[in-house]
């Protein structure tokens, strides 16, 4: 779109000084030595008190990773990463595991407070928020606190950090870990298998509707630290869960790596709704610093009539490389992907989804909205495929891009692969400017050019915002405003 001149100027001026999560927290931390080798893998495993099978799994992954090459196909450019120049484990120092919130370092609680995430249950219950959200807070490499555990337990829901799950529910972890994203899936996923430090584990038993929204907040605090978290969500037959994920990091001059793996398993008639608001530090106005967000997210609709829905609002990170996908294995299963990707400054986004139709009567829907400003590059990359036996597979894809200013880029790279005659795929993509008529109409009614643009952009992303749970929709809207301040709101 052609933005009015002032918009372009203002967007240009706008940089990550607007990034309000750029503070650091001074904490004593426990760190592994810098570098990446088998000893570090053993160190992490030992630090977490993991059983032998887990260590073997990690070492196997690490050995495989060493034989792999970094993928080059994405439309992102960055200097080669020196994997030995990073810390793979950093944990806030503590004497014993916190039993209650009072045992948690107040500095950490303060950090989350600054981020606007209420960890104290009583605060939540006192009506800070209208509905209850259980939160798992991950600080650098480890999970520091999980709220509402007791109440969830009553419903039979397991919501804990993955390290606890490895100890307490080894059978479930053994059965499902790596079953959706195999160890050798891709370069960063394999690296994650070797060095992941924490993340969330969710298990919803048969026929249970999770009584509240589950949420994880990821925070990278330490310098030179890579964050490798692992999330595993299992929805048993007929269950339902909605899971939210938020991410922030302080401002740093150097690039930090975040390589997460998220695995979702939905069995018969189960539904998982996974929402992300990603706001990692995007780097400064000259493109210095920022998080490399190389994430593998995949859901497996393993059972008949299951459903997995991904919703993401991507505003942060220097580089995003992320394709939340659905494997539609069960008959009549459904996959959804709703995405807003906003890029500004020197951000590079290469994101999209994969919908792999394997079962009969499977359906999928992709709605992607990309907004690029500044000198950023925003790419949608998505794959839809129907295999031989995917009779009556259906997909609808819509990806739209808006450009603000003439120095940014918006790209669309869809892959549609059909091997079944009865599969019907429809794909449409547009890149167009905001209509002058619309702008004129709004301005005639007394709105400034900025307000008019904001209104139209809000309309542009509305389809996706509607998919977010209430708690996040407000935050997401605000985020988009911050990311594009000057042109939006």
């Amino acid at each position: 779109m052609v933005a009015v001149k002032e918009t372009v100027e203002q967007v240009k001026q706008l940089d990550v000084d607007q990034y309000k999560y750029g503070f650091t927290t001074d904490l004593e931390v426990d760190k592994a030595p810098k570098g990446l080798n088998e000893d570090i893998v053993r160190f992490i495993s030992a630090k977490k008190g993991e059983p032998q099978w887990m260590l073997d799994w990690r070492l196997d992954a690490f050995r495989r990773w060493k034989t792999m090459d970094e993928p080059q196909w994405a439309r992102v450019h960055y200097p080669k990463i020196d994997f030995n120049d990073s810390y793979y484990y950093a944990a806030p120092k503590k004497n014993a595991a916190p039993k209650t919130l009072d045992d948690v370092d107040p500095a950490i609680l303060d950090t989350y407070k600054k981020l606007g995430i209420p960890l104290r249950e009583q605060e939540i219950l006192a009506g800070v928020q209208t509905s209850k959200v259980a939160v798992d807070a991950v600080f650098d490499s480890v999970s520091v606190v999980t709220t509402f555990k007791e109440e969830l337990k009553k419903a039979g829901v397991i919501f804990c950090s993955i390290s606890e799950a490895i100890k307490d529910h080894p059978d479930l972890v053994k059965k499902y870990l790596g079953s959706v994203v195999p160890v050798t899936d891709n370069y960063y996923a394999t690296l994650n298998c070797a060095v992941f430090t924490d993340g969330s584990f969710v298990y919803i038993p048969e026929g249970t509707r999770c009584p509240m929204e589950l949420s994880t907040y990821f925070r990278i605090n330490e310098k030179n630290t890579g964050q490798f978290e692992r999330t595993l969500i299992i929805a048993e037959k007929g269950s339902y869960v909605s899971y939210l994920e938020g991410c922030t990091a302080p401002q740093r001059d150097e690039n930090q790596l975040h390589a997460a793996v998220v695995e979702l398993v939905a069995l018969d008639d189960a539904e998982i709704k996974y929402s992300t608001v990603q706001n990692w530090y995007p780097g400064d106005a000259d493109g210095k610093g920022g998080i490399y967000n190389f994430v593998t997210k995949r859901g497996d609709c393993r059972g008949a009539n299951s459903k997995i829905s991904w919703t993401q609002v991507e505003t942060g990170s220097a580089i995003t490389w992320k394709y939340p996908s659905c494997i539609l294995r069960g008959d009549n299963s459904r996959g959804e992907f709703y995405s807003i990707a906003v890029s500004n400054g020197y951000q590079q986004v290469d994101s999209g989804t994969k919908m792999i139709h394997l079962g009969k009567n499977t359906t999928s829907r992709i709605i992607s909205k990309g907004i690029s400003a500044g000198k950023s590059q925003n790419t949608y990359r998505g794959q839809v495929s129907a295999h031989r036996k995917a009779t009556n597979a259906r997909n609808f894809t819509n990806c739209d891009s808006l450009l603000i200013g003439e120095t940014c880029g918006a790209h669309t790279v869809p892959y549609l692969e059909s091997k079944n005659a009865s599969a019907v795929f429809e794909h449409e993509a547009t890149t167009s400017k905001i209509s002058e008529d619309q702008l004129f109409y709004c301005r005639q009614r007394g709105l400034s050019a900025e307000e008019a643009t904001a209104l139209i952009v809000n309309g542009f992303v509305k389809d996706v915002l509607q998919q977010l749970p209430m708690e996040f929709a407000v935050e997401a809207q605000k985020l988009i405003s911050i990311s594009l301040e000057g042109s939006v709101g």
Partner: protein
């Protein structure tokens, strides 16, 4: 694992052996090919057409033109004819060029440092052509020349060898022409790797049809590179029924403002045919318009590939680009791979693409059958209409009729 350099395939080794005695001026091109080797599925542009896996043999380059026995489907068209047999110009089968057109053999390579080189050289199939093509044909259409009759370039393959035809066309300002590139002949084991480069001036109207009616056992790799000046019109058409393994590349670049390109294509595939249509439309300057329409009909176990990319360069404002790909998959064994891409670096543009894959519309079929048409005929009728959409932009009635007849023949063979 992936960081271990894969061994050269037998085909690659054969090509390397053939390239040993290559003329010095073609060494660079050959080395360019060697650098990448045969493209495979990890090479993004060849993701769906893995030549390393699909190319079964590297036949020796053709020595001299063989005897032509095939009759062109365009034989009855009143046209000027230029014939290349096994990659070489054959005067006895060519007509005298019309006024304003000169045809001459060139011994220097296409690698002459012209701007067009950058459109073409990055592709390994084109590099292979440049390495092995020992004669190029230069066709010059003078400024202000308006050709009344189409100029048909027949590229005939006579035996199981490799041919590397290369044709370079320059179209002067204000000229008007229709060039047909007709790929004919071929047998099992034949490899055709052709390149047609067209440099168009300003205020040009240029039509181009690429017809692939080669033997259904041949391997056909064809590349078209076009660059166009200002206020011109390019209309490109593709029609594919031949070839066991084929790839049809189009690299088109706008170099002058306010020009327009319309590109359409129809591919009818069955049995185990694999046909790839790859298109790059490069809007390097502002205010140009492009329209692309690609249709695929896939029967049996055939594989259709469409890769289309619209690039809008920085500063190419007011670009208007629309790309559409439609495919009908008739059998569960058939595969369609679609990759319509947009790459946009300017903000004041209107670009879009659409892609659909599906079976024939059940409701329409029912409607036709309810009116007494047998299933096969009803399907044929619908497919004919579907393919017709891609052919209707061909202005030359006679040639359009020939293509429609070829499509009809294909449909008849299907229902028989």
């Amino acid at each position: 694992m992936s960081n271990i350099t894969p061994l050269k395939t037998e085909v690659e080794q054969a090509l390397i052996a053939q390239g040993a005695g290559i003329a010095p001026d073609r060494k660079a091109a050959f080395e360019r090919f060697l650098e990448s080797g045969l493209p495979h599925r990890r090479v993004e542009a060849y993701h769906y057409t893995d030549l390393r896996a699909l190319l079964k043999s590297a036949p020796p380059p053709a020595k001299a033109g063989g005897k032509v026995s095939v009759i062109s489907p365009l034989a009855d068209i009143d046209a000027d004819i230029i014939t290349l047999v096994d990659g070489r110009y054959e005067a006895s089968l060519s007509s005298t060029p019309p006024k304003g057109v000169s045809v001459k053999m060139a011994t220097t390579l296409a690698d002459d440092g012209s701007a067009q080189k950058s459109v073409l050289s990055s592709d390994p199939v084109i590099a292979l052509n440049a390495a092995f093509s020992d004669s190029a044909l230069d066709i010059a259409i003078d400024a202000k020349t308006e050709l009344v009759k189409p100029l048909i370039i027949r590229l005939v393959t006579t035996a199981a060898h490799a041919s590397y035809p290369r044709v370079r066309v320059t179209v002067g300002d204000h000229a008007k022409a229709f060039i047909v590139e007709s790929h004919e002949g071929g047998v099992a084991g034949a490899l055709i790797d052709s390149v047609l480069e067209v440099r168009m001036g300003d205020h040009v109207a240029f039509d181009h049809l690429r017809l692939n009616v080669t033997d259904r056992a041949a391997t056909v790799l064809t590349s078209f590179g076009g660059a166009m000046g200002k206020e011109s019109l390019y209309r490109g058409h593709n029609f594919v029924v031949g070839g066991a393994l084929s790839r049809h590349q189009i690299f088109f670049r706008f170099e002058g403002e306010q020009s327009k390109a319309e590109i359409s294509s129809a591919s009818l595939l069955n049995k185990k045919q694999h046909a790839d249509s790859t298109l790059v439309v490069d809007h390097a300057v502002p205010e140009c318009q492009s329209r692309e329409f690609f249709a695929h009909v896939l029967d049996d176990e055939s594989i259709g590939v469409f890769q289309g990319k619209i690039i809008v360069r920085p500063g190419a404002q007011q670009t208007d680009g629309k790309m559409m790909s439609r495919a009908i998959v008739l059998e569960d064994g058939a595969t369609m791979n679609n990759k319509p891409e947009l790459e946009i670096f300017a903000d004041d543009v209107a670009c879009g693409h659409g892609a659909t894959v599906g079976a024939l519309d059940e409701d329409l079929l029912f409607y036709l059958r309810a009116r007494g048409l047998p299933k096969a005929e009803a399907e044929a009728l619908m497919l004919q209409a579907f393919v017709g959409e891609a052919l209707e932009s061909i202005e030359h009635d006679g040639i359009r009729d020939v293509l429609e007849a070829l499509a009809e023949q294909w449909l008849k063979a299907r229902s028989a």
